[in-house]
Amino acid sequence: MSTEALIDKYFRPGRLPHIWCPGCGNGIVTGCIVKAVEQTGLTRDEVAVVSGIGCSSRASGYLDFNTVHSAHGRALPVATGVKMGNPKLNVIVVTGDGDCTAIGGNHLIHAARRNLDLTVVLFNNSIYGMTGGQYSPLTPFGSKATTAPYATIEHDFDVVELAKAAGATFVARGTTFHAQLLTDLIVKGMQHKGFSLIEAVSACPTSFGRQNKMGGPVEMILWQRDHGVMKAAWDKMTDEQRQGKFPIGVLHEDNSKVEYTVAYDYLIKKAQEGKK
């Protein structure tokens, strides 16, 4: 199916153009999500999209699936409820860097720990865009923000390592420049039985780019091209070469852990048999 037909199929009619700024990467990531859904062969009724609050979380309003636009940072708790209520649904969580790692930070680590079968697509634009450019836990150290006019002195999370340490069983990173890779990673995340997190490095030219003199949309997407390194090449690089760059691709996969709804079904069965 052509991309144009895909957009017509999975987007709510009459909602485009969207509200995102010129050059915002969120549109590219949302496009990758619908391409991934098409590749998995799931129908629209079999997919649920849950989002929190923020620029990225507006995506659920454009997509024509079962969608919930929930409270700030609470996309994961709502998604947990949706998945537990109907484990047959394939739940995609659309969340931003502030939404997922600041306000919803604890929800992230506990959802990862439980290994519930959710696919989290984390739109990382390094800033709180919608509220006017405040720094988030993923704003790189030394960057400027509205709340850090002389540069932020807080160190940023590496969300891939964070999810890995918290027990996520599939962790990957893509960028909006590597859009084809990002689509493939979302497909893999959706097919993975367990908690999967895909960090999508995205550009915010309006709030982040301007304050940090990174140039416009073009320069920012080319920055991703120059700084994202495929996992295979990353593994061969020295620490010096890795400076300032980040790995992309599938960064962690563990199929040994039991998935939460499977374990829950087992528990129900055991309780019904009256065993302890």
């Binding site: 144009e4 010129p22 050059g23 949309p217």
Partner: protein, 60 residues
């Protein structure tokens, strides 16, 4: 026409024009993209893949 541009959706960010290997596209004075050299298009799909606004499609 190999390229389909939905002008209403275009916000003129210029990503497609910058990523086009054949310099087929350009952003005009009203900040909308247009095909200035369409016969050079090799249908690589870079513009379609990277357009954040779903405003340009390559018809194969």
């Amino acid at each position: 026409m190999a390229l389909k541009i939905i002008t209403k959706r275009c916000k003129g960010c210029g990503i497609c024009a910058a990523l086009c290997p054949k310099k087929v596209l350009a952003v005009n004075e009203v900040e909308k993209v247009e095909a200035v050299n369409e016969k050079e298009c090799i249908k690589c799909g870079q513009c379609e893949q990277h357009c954040p606004d779903y405003a340009i499609f390559v018809e194969k």
